[in-house]
Each structure stands twice: as C-alpha cells, then as structure tokens.
C-alpha cells in the first residue's frame, strides 16, 4: 500500500490505469476542530469551532477581540455547495446563510485580515462563503501530482461529521 501511495504522490499513475474508485471520507467534528485549534494562540480569534448538528448544515462559532467593542461572538450556518469535476473544474463552497452578512464591518475586516493569513492557498473566505479551490489547495500542499487521478470531489455534512466525497479515476 505504501508503494502505491508513493507512486500517486510522485505523479506516476502508469501502473494504475483503469482504476476507478469512489471514496467517501467522513471527518469527525473532533478532528476538524483539532485542526482549527492548530492556529496560533496569540491571534485575535478567541474561539473558532465548527459543529455538525444536522444533515447538510455546519455551524461555525467564532469569538474575536475587537478594539473598543471588546469580545464579539457570532454563530454562522454553513451549507456545503459546489462540485469539482476534472476537465471543467469547479469550486467547493461552504455557503453562509445570513450570519456573516449581519456582522459589523469591524469584525469582517478583522476576519479578512487575520483569518485569510492563516488559510492555506486555495481556501478563501469572504462575506458569503468559504471557497475551496481544490487544484490550488493541492498545489499549495505540494500534492498536485494527485490531480490527474481526481475525477470529481464534493463536500457534505452529516450529524457529527464533515464528509469529503472523492472520485478517483485513472485513464
């Protein structure tokens, strides 16, 4: 198995032509939040966590220290949208419903300034959505050799889990 993974990482897919696999990979709420907790402790964000309580809805909770105003806490619902397709491309989204649009400009400015710096290339945050550009994300992680194997990808949410759907097809 290790040699197969090494081949994929190096972009050598020649021995695996004809492979056609669907991978459904759930990521637990614990794991996602442990990854979010890897951010620097000295930033303005006091809290940044995701919960997955119902199908197709993730809930983002963030608390930040703002000058003059003090601590502001917001809870924002996110809906997984979009799909990546090899050939045509496409972006994956976590679309916000209302939440961040109502947040005052100071918090938005702070998020834009601080969170963007923490996000890896390929993940963007604006007032309406979190966008994942999969090819750019993989390139940023030095994993772009995997792209020729990736036929399609999308996100989903189930209670307690963020789901990554991948279609791996090597022609």
């Amino acid at each position: 198995m290790e040699i197969l993974l090494q081949r994929l990482r190096s972009g050598d897919l020649s021995g695996l032509t004809g492979t056609d696999l669907a991978l459904e990979l759930p990521l637990s709420e614990r794991l996602v939040n442990a990854a979010l907790d890897q951010r620097p402790a000295d930033g303005p964000l006091q809290r940044l966590s995701l919960s997955f309580l119902t199908n197709e809805v993730a809930s983002l909770t963030l608390a930040a220290r703002l000058p003059v105003i003090g601590t502001v806490e917001r809870r924002i619902d996110l809906h997984p949208r979009g799909e990546y397709q090899r050939g045509t491309g496409g972006l994956l989204y976590l679309e916000m419903t209302g939440g961040l649009k109502r947040v005052d400009r100071a918090l938005l400015k702070l998020l834009g300034g601080f969170v963007e710096k923490q996000l890896p290339p390929g993940i963007d945050l604006d007032a309406e959505r979190v966008t994942v550009d999969l090819p750019e994300l993989l390139r940023g992680q030095g994993q772009d050799a995997l792209l020729p194997a990736l036929a399609a990808a999308k996100l989903g949410v189930r209670p307690g889990q963020l789901i990554v759907f991948l279609h791996l097809k090597i022609d």
Binding site: I3, G18, T19, L23, L25, P26, A35
Partner: protein
C-alpha cells in the same frame, strides 16, 4: 504534526468512522511484480538482502506507531473480488470502516 497524526491513530481512526472505498483497483503486471519484489525483500533475512539484484530502498524509520492489523480486523468487507485481464490485475472492492452507531 506527528503528535496530531499519532492522536488520530491512537483513536483507531474513529475520526473517519463510516469511511467507504468502493470500485475497481487496476494494477499493471509491472506494478504487481514490483510489489512482489518488495514482499520478497521483506521476507528475506537481513543477512541475505545484499545479494538481491532488484533491491528497493527500505521504508524510512518513523516514530509514528500504528497497528495496521487491528484496522484490517475492523474493516467491513462487502465486496472483494479478484480478476485478471491482458497485462493487468484488477480488484473489485467495497470496504468500509463501520459507522459509529454500528460498533
């Protein structure tokens, strides 16, 4: 990062409960022979390895510990079928880490 990964492994991949891989894995004869070469090397006593002509570099040492056999024992195997065609070996598979509620 190693501590982060070790924590995931210590939980026996519970963070991926319900993960499912289904479809066809197709490998060329050359790749299968390469894998067999690796297997042969692993089964060869250390004292004889220098004599092997098709030597492959040993896996680098890692401090991350994980018992792969325990993971394999927990897998739910719905389909596992082997076939061959000209110059290729294929494995039809449908395997799953059981969802949390079914443990």
């Amino acid at each position: 990062m190693d501590a982060f990964i070790q924590d995931i492994l210590d939980r026996e991949l519970d963070d991926f409960a319900g993960a499912r891989l289904a479809g066809k894995l197709s490998a060329s004869d050359a790749l299968v022979n390469e894998l067999l070469g690796l297997l042969r090397q692993q089964l060869t006593p250390d004292s004889e390895r220098n004599n092997m002509t098709n030597e492959v570099a040993a896996s680098p040492d890692t401090e991350i510990a994980f018992d792969l056999s325990r993971l394999i024992q927990r897998l739910r195997i719905n389909t596992l079928a082997y076939a061959t065609e000209a110059g290729r070996t294929t494995l039809e598979l449908d395997v799953q880490l059981p969802p949390r509620e079914s443990r």
